[in-house]
């Protein structure tokens, strides 16, 4: 009995922690946005542009599509999969469509994700989670009292995924692909002491 109580308390704590995830801020249009400005004195504008396109078309190619580009900006759209966590495992609960913009100037760049639209997943006859509809609900559209708790979790999930996306993007823009290709994986030789 004691074991079950500990388990229940642990579960309750975990669920509570999940619910306290932070949300994205709103922009001047009243839309949720993930926005960052990054200073990068060492990389020139063309390299940044190339790396941004590499990120969209190679690193995130399964979930992103490049829409257009100029000599100083790239526009793309994509989806983030939101997970529902149960104890230490979980499953995808839905996906969020977004628009992605990166603008580059000499010595710095900025990027943002916005126009988030949520599409819930449902388990299909084979046990796989698939989209229930093709029409998304804007994240700003509150779903009413009945589903407000779930919506908060979704907003928290989007914030986590968008932050991870931002970290991945900054990492790619800070890394030269040619240098990366040249750099061999470190090996350990047992021939020398």
């Amino acid at each position: 009995m004691k074991k079950y109580l500990v388990l229940i308390i642990f579960l309750a704590t975990f669920i509570r922690l999940s619910a306290q995830q932070k949300q994205l801020p709103l922009d001047d249009r009243g839309k949720y946005i993930y926005y960052e400005v990054v200073d990068t004195k060492t990389v020139n504008k063309d390299s940044l542009l190339q790396r941004a396109e590499f990120f969209i078309n190679k690193v995130y190619k399964k979930s992103m599509k490049q829409e257009s580009s100029t000599d100083s900006s790239v526009l793309a759209s994509g989806t983030l999969v939101i997970d529902k966590t149960l104890l230490v495992a979980g499953h995808p609960s839905g996906e969020v469509k977004y628009n992605f913009t990166v603008e580059i100037r000499s010595g710095k760049y900025r990027f943002w994700l916005t126009d988030f639209e949520y599409i819930p997943y449902q388990r299909d006859r084979y046990g796989n989670f698939v989209a229930t509809t093709n029409i998304g609900t804007p994240l700003e559209k509150a779903p009413g009292k009945l589903n407000s708790g779930q919506w908060k979790d979704i907003l928290g999930g989007v914030s986590v995924k968008a932050t991870k996306f931002g970290e991945d993007f900054k990492k790619v823009l800070a890394t030269s692909r040619s240098e990366k290709a040249k750099k061999k994986e470190e090996t350990i030789s047992t021939k020398k002491w």
Binding site: K84, A89, G90, D124, R125, G127, N134, K141, G144
Partner: protein, 339 residues
């Protein structure tokens, strides 16, 4: 049950630990629980003989359904078990164990040879039809005659080739319907063409030929759904089943319009026409059924109030006094929780 839960937690914990060392998707755990109250207007249990929700004037159990999925590299598995009347005695293959065991809903292994080509082997939910066993996968809580008469699951091996996001083709070899191991050998061949002509509209053209319900026969099936607007969705299922040597079969069509009246409330209608075919000198019979259903969602919970009216001129239904009747009706209220 306790052992099973312990095993699930152990697997989940192990997965969490291993996830730091190998690039693999986490173990997915999902499932559902459902319960219902049904009142037959003629106070007759089993008056409308479609699958599930059979009790009258009783708060009764559906099933608890537990599903595990994991993908490592190109290989994945799904294992899904159900316990409770909907997932045991009413899901057919359990009869051999005296209707007391759990039921396997899905148990298969999949391998993605490429982004376009995959092969799957095991016991899988059927690719035929619109409705499924799991209450989470259906809008209506009661089921159609088409669902009840068709296969529930198929064991076999299938290959799927995805030409694009709009077209894919599946072909496979299967055992007879709803059995864990073949009683008549790998006796069926099946195929599915999926087309998505416009965004939001998906159609499946299905064929299954071989050993099935009532003998050897062939089912042709069309299952399609179109999300026409944000609020309005239309589904359709049409099927024809011919059993060889005048062994009967069925044909029918069901239409599923659904309209979201609020963010948490959707109303849906199921209109069905269903006909069993003549078996020798015994003539078939025709059913029409109309079901009005609401889905009220709050998080993982869905309340499903439903009114259903069925008609058959051959009077297969019962009145209050036990005499035969051409009409039957029922009200049900179900609660389904998906996690």
């Amino acid at each position: 049950m306790k052992k099973l839960l312990t095993a699930i937690f152990a697997i989940a914990s192990t997965t969490c630990a291993l996830a730091q060392e190998t690039p693999a998707s986490p173990l997915e755990i999902s499932g559902s629980v459902d319960t219902y109250f049904k009142y037959d207007f003629a106070k007759q249990p089993n008056n409308i003989l479609t699958s599930f929700a059979s009790d009258h004037n009783s708060v009764s159990l559906g099933m608890i359904d537990l599903a595990l999925k994991k993908k490592t590299g190109k290989a994945s598995f799904v294992g899904e078990l159900s316990f409770g009347p909907r997932g045991q005695t009413q899901s057919i293959p359990d009869a051999a164990s005296g209707n007391s065991s759990f039921h396997i809903q899905n148990l298969y292994i999949n391998y993605d040879f490429s982004d376009k080509f995959a092969m799957t082997a095991g016991y899988m939910g059927t690719f035929i039809g619109y409705e499924v066993i799991s209450p989470v996968g259906n809008f209506n809580y009661s089921t159609s005659y088409l669902f009840t008469s068709g296969p529930f699951q198929n064991a076999g091996i299938k290959a799927t080739y995805k030409f694009s996001d709009k077209v894919s083709l599946m072909a496979g070899l299967f055992n007879d319907w709803n059995v864990y191991s073949a009683t008549r050998g790998v006796s069926s061949v099946g195929g599915q063409l999926m087309v998505a002509p416009v965004e939001g509209w998906t159609a499946y053209l299905n064929v299954l030929s071989g050993a099935g319900g009532g003998g050897y026969g062939t089912i042709e099936d069309l299952t399609t759904a179109y999300q026409i607007t944000e609020k309005f969705k239309l589904g359709l299922n049409a099927a024809n089943y011919d059993i060889d040597n005048d062994g009967g079969g069925y044909s029918g069509v069901a239409l599923y319009p659904q309209y979201a009246v609020a963010s948490a409330v959707t109303l849906g209608l199921r209109g069905e026409y269903f006909k069993t075919k003549d078996v020798g000198a015994v003539t078939g019979t025709k059913y029409t059924a109309v079901t009005l259903t609401a889905n009220i969602k709050s998080g993982g919970l869905t309340f499903i109030p439903e009114v259903r009216l069925d008609h058959n001129g051959d009077k297969p239904f019962l009145k209050n006094n036990g005499l035969s009747a051409p009409n039957a009706g029922q009200f049900s209220l179900a609660a389904v929780y998906a996690f």
